[in-house]
Symmetry: D2
Subunit: 439 residues, 4 copies
Amino acid sequence: MAYKDEQLNEEKVFKDPVHRYVHVKDRVIWDLIAAPEFQRLRRIKQLGTTNLTFHGAEHSRFNHSLGVYEIVRRILYNFENRPHWNDDERLLCLCAALLHDLGHGPFSHSFEKVFKLDHEHFTQQIIMGDTHIHTILERVSPGFSKKVADVIDKTYEDKLVVSLISSQIDADRMDYLQRDAYFTGVSYGHFDMERILRVMRPIDDQVVIKSSGMHAVEDYIMSRYQMYWQVYFHPVTRSAEVILSKILHRAKYLFETDYTFKLKPMHFISFFKEKVDLADYLKLDESIVSYYFQLWQEEDDEILHDLCERFMNRRLFKYIEFNPNQQMNEWMELYRLFQEAGIDPEYYLVVDSSSDLPYDFYRPGEEEERLPIHLMMPNDELKELSRHSDIVEAISGKKRTDHKLYFPKDLLEELSEDCPAKRRILELLYGEGAGNNVN
Amino acid sequence: MAYKDEQLNEEKVFKDPVHRYVHVKDRVIWDLIAAPEFQRLRRIKQLGTTNLTFHGAEHSRFNHSLGVYEIVRRILYNFENRPHWNDDERLLCLCAALLHDLGHGPFSHSFEKVFKLDHEHFTQQIIMGDTHIHTILERVSPGFSKKVADVIDKTYEDKLVVSLISSQIDADRMDYLQRDAYFTGVSYGHFDMERILRVMRPIDDQVVIKSSGMHAVEDYIMSRYQMYWQVYFHPVTRSAEVILSKILHRAKYLFETDYTFKLKPMHFISFFKEKVDLADYLKLDESIVSYYFQLWQEEDDEILHDLCERFMNRRLFKYIEFNPNQQMNEWMELYRLFQEAGIDPEYYLVVDSSSDLPYDFYRPGEEEERLPIHLMMPNDELKELSRHSDIVEAISGKKRTDHKLYFPKDLLEELSEDCPAKRRILELLYGEGAGNNVN
Amino acid sequence: MAYKDEQLNEEKVFKDPVHRYVHVKDRVIWDLIAAPEFQRLRRIKQLGTTNLTFHGAEHSRFNHSLGVYEIVRRILYNFENRPHWNDDERLLCLCAALLHDLGHGPFSHSFEKVFKLDHEHFTQQIIMGDTHIHTILERVSPGFSKKVADVIDKTYEDKLVVSLISSQIDADRMDYLQRDAYFTGVSYGHFDMERILRVMRPIDDQVVIKSSGMHAVEDYIMSRYQMYWQVYFHPVTRSAEVILSKILHRAKYLFETDYTFKLKPMHFISFFKEKVDLADYLKLDESIVSYYFQLWQEEDDEILHDLCERFMNRRLFKYIEFNPNQQMNEWMELYRLFQEAGIDPEYYLVVDSSSDLPYDFYRPGEEEERLPIHLMMPNDELKELSRHSDIVEAISGKKRTDHKLYFPKDLLEELSEDCPAKRRILELLYGEGAGNNVN
Amino acid sequence: MAYKDEQLNEEKVFKDPVHRYVHVKDRVIWDLIAAPEFQRLRRIKQLGTTNLTFHGAEHSRFNHSLGVYEIVRRILYNFENRPHWNDDERLLCLCAALLHDLGHGPFSHSFEKVFKLDHEHFTQQIIMGDTHIHTILERVSPGFSKKVADVIDKTYEDKLVVSLISSQIDADRMDYLQRDAYFTGVSYGHFDMERILRVMRPIDDQVVIKSSGMHAVEDYIMSRYQMYWQVYFHPVTRSAEVILSKILHRAKYLFETDYTFKLKPMHFISFFKEKVDLADYLKLDESIVSYYFQLWQEEDDEILHDLCERFMNRRLFKYIEFNPNQQMNEWMELYRLFQEAGIDPEYYLVVDSSSDLPYDFYRPGEEEERLPIHLMMPNDELKELSRHSDIVEAISGKKRTDHKLYFPKDLLEELSEDCPAKRRILELLYGEGAGNNVN
């Protein structure tokens, strides 16, 4: 039997707290899961620093990747024998679902920003490079790995296939919303996925939703909205991320200025040089990062060791609401005062902004076009979701941004009362006699 | 206000997926949670290698420790104003609950066996040694840390206090059964804790259960039984643990025989020498272990790198049922055949046995006496649980043991067909023409 | 001890699927629950005809009333010792919570419309009249029953007390959303009540919500929105209600026109006469209604027996979207055609409209003023919810109405092909060659 | 297309709180559900008087019947294409599953005992008689209704088919355990049905369980055990049943002794005469019973009106442990004392016994043979469950019986202190100076 059609003797299952069971019958999928590059995802948390806010959120990207695979498997099970659906694309969809996050590294968000990386680029490299994953995919058929890479890259010609993995209501989002809600324990993030799966219909180039399922989709969009603001953008999580970024910045700066580390940071050097090859990239997981950060707690550089100690022991920065666009003067004054007080504002006075667009349809000329969600009406006509749903219409296209200013409250309080800057800093940060609003 | 009575301005809560919320009002508890020695528990998984079987089980001991604290908090809330209960012991109970697992290291089970350690010993050291935890506890009152240590050590004079943390139905077990069930996603592990908490009554030297709550306790004991056999003793998990132990053995052996590691295993040296001081112990968390295991994948020693590669990439040993007591001859033959085939049986042919005693009452002269669970009858008489419950009676004192033989199926299959030992090994392991029963 | 302070020896609990346990410690509450007028609520379904759509929704008002009581109990537990809160009002709040729906009869909505009744009026009568409930309340203190009645009537002077039972985020709504979601099995209706209870703060004349809990409130409002449209206004449920109303109309009409019922409808006579006294009202529960409807299936009057047979056996009307305001001509034509075809349009051609206002703040001059939900900002300032929440702002004050036209599709299809009206009726209802959109 | 193969245009779903969705695609099933005899099950509670103990347990047999159907549907979905399984039996299995409880009347247990009825007999009659159900089944193929009846009667030749509906681990039990747990809200009753369905295998004449699923089956058996003792045999529920039985006895006695009822109890007469035909049987649902019991509250016969008033208003009997086999003398004395005190012991002094056999294998010669549950070992050998499971072995064949004595505590307390029997009755019931143990 051709490898691509090979089935396991007995269906295997993974017990999954979110989808109850993940089912695997295809040999290819089984082999991909066993590949070292995929197993590596066990060592990268799905939500980076979120576990410092929600202690349950310690789940890995391995977890999530299986979940996305399982959702696509269920969608395709419903698609079988439907018009418009070509079941030859089945294995391709399953592989793309399983592997879509393969290129993630530890704390992707911060690492990408500081070292100018792009996890999607590495996903492509792992799939196309000299890896176990690549070998397995090419056994399916020559060129199959490229197809998988293209689906994940959204350049694959069959947009219906692409939309299963990347759209405003794709398997990726449906898994992470539910999974992250489960592990954090929040009560947002629940929606009736079983119903959504039942009302999904493949058409030419996209998956549409039967209009009778509109309310389940509304619920999904509201879940998404709540998860973003309640979990993903939680200010305490962002505090940890701010510190993490500053550690990376500082280490890079020290490396560039020929500082002598007690132990040479081998795993980081190609990152500092911004020349990361695939092998180096694959080696850097969260345990490696944690290893170095712990070593660096004992470095002589005061900023590096202070920041590492904060990160490892969760001694985070505090924050206040702060809009840099409107508060430029305060910002400049604070910056100067921090310098006066001997606290380097480059590392200890940080504005962080988060923003989210809960749902949007295509607006020509925007940076990234977002394909709308279409409802299929009883007469088979398509209707863009926000034209039918009052709730979605209400929030559609409404970008919301949140700005916070982070700083080490403890350091400021430890400043000598003689320090002339201290009083003014506290005044600017907490207002007159306040302090209550500092979190 | 005395530190011991200090309350936070606003009660703080942790969102917890198992208990919904963990509530903290005491400043002391808040400070203990923030201590580095406690934060370190975030880097130690509650269930060691179980996540290689149940991918959701990635939760840390930090998680569980908060849970045990919360359960004790709720128990004590119910105890307030009850006869026999002295509310002055409240803070002591809360601290002991929070800190009871503080001395756990990474993969405790294997590390303890290989390096002859005892996590309880380290719990005592962290509480009594030169640590943040100790400082905080001594601020409560001089000698308070000793009391906390004694409660955890079960030597504290007030046995009622001890029994909250250590008995056959204590807060520790109630938390881990539910928590491990939640994160693995299995359907065992559920019981009506709210009911059990409601029917717990403090008496002189123990907590007893009102007889009207007997069925909830039965349910708890069955949960425990199922979790042990379905989750904790799962043969795949044990396969990973077998490999882990063999890695530690091999590394120690190499160290003792003056092998030159590519990078000196600084963090491990005191372990190899079996002279681990507190500072060394605290430094070794799972990320450090993972760091070394990844390095060791590139060591020259073939056994070490093979085992590490297996562990990191989940290429585990297979297993069959095997009772070493009854199959001594097969065992000796296999041992010899492995040697002939050039596969070191010390590392690659391993019997692992698990056994559990689901519930027992005191039998004088046994190694560890187990205090029975007592029901309080309507007439206030006490009755040992198994005398009242048919189900518990049925399983009481019935020790069950499971033996498995682990081996690398892949290596055996790769042996040349010319190898005279191969055929006989396969025959012994799988029986005539079999192989179906190998897992 | 005064009756009002009397406590049960042991706290009693009711196992409740929604709140886990309902706790009762006050003798007064225990006695009220045991009163026949309260037990009667077991024979009235919370959701009337909804179980014909969602088969799980068979729960009674007894169920819900206990739930509302339990929520208020938990709120007040949190309020203890807070400023603004007078704990002397505790028992009053609990009684009002428990009894707020006491005056509901079977299928209240339809009965009230057809017979011009008002369940709130009967709640007042049961509390103030010659009932067990009244006797119990007066034992608390003379005049206490009046206070309870006033709280439920929203005329009680302490508006803080009133707002616990009757506001846009009161215990009543919080219970029914969760309870109805639980019993129907829908995935809407979940929100983090535990969090909302924690952030509720009593002030002068209302309960406000700490702004940190805003998202939980948003979630609650979205739940409410979804439950209304997905469950409460479900078109199939409304079909059953349409039939029910028409049964009542017909029976009243027959009574008024001196039709001779096979069995004299004793229980209904005072309803037909629109002179219902308390004793008659209390006797009419759902089992009585069901008894008569089953008898009436055997009445000679064709309309009455057909409608009863439909209701009992769930042979409901079908429906299409139909806006009577814009489709007056079609309506008139259909009416005439039905008459021609011998199907009485008074009973068989029915427009039903539902509308909901998911959240609103006070607009002077509107029929019923709705008190807004106020957030308490960190600086103790109050802010109306929709000014702070984008989502709530988006849906605030947006009334949505849904119109449907109901008719017996089966009867129409059974019309002879010779009937000249048939073809035109089908055309008007289903459009050209359609039929797909009929539900 | 033949009626038996007819499929609905679109699959229909029922939202079900237990199984999430019940799916219907076969026209036959759809028609059966719509039949009046099936809709009637909405008016019969699944758990009779249990809602007087667990207020959530108001769900109907309609609910449960859909659930059993759904489970069988899922089992058969897994059986497709398996050896031993003949898919031609599919529709037969689904019909039998749906209809297996069709003959239940209101409060079956008590009605059957008092009026010597057998609901299984009526199930047969409804399926074979002049009913909508029969007509639908015969449309499938002549003689099909007989097959359905035989499957439910366990006389159908293909025992594999029978065992899906009637065995120690059938769809019926799996549904009711979960459903009753859900609606009562108890935490027992949960087991991993999805896993059990996955490990079920059809063989010649039964369904067996792959041995890897043994623990899920153990969990199911323990759930069953707990549900029996915690819910089904709850002494408060039995108190209500005792009263119900006594009402029926009294009404029958009055009828037989020519008592004149205020309203002739038409619906009951054939029951009193023990000549119930199908039409009479179908008319008697819970609402009818409730109607009469309410009327009878106003009857002149004191016993009848007192018992009815107790039942309707939940003024139940109290109870103590009482073993009639060992306490014959007390029993006889109490009987006599009740007579002396003017309280008729036939109605007011009732022993009720419940007993359950949690699991058993076949023992030749026993009244009802119980087919054992068989595990299929990896080598395809069958093994009776209790030989492989320690827990099941422990409870296997252990019949447990519980005896309670019920009586009206209120009436006894109201006896005049002058009544010579009073003191001795109280002494016998509560012991010396006791009373605490009376529930």
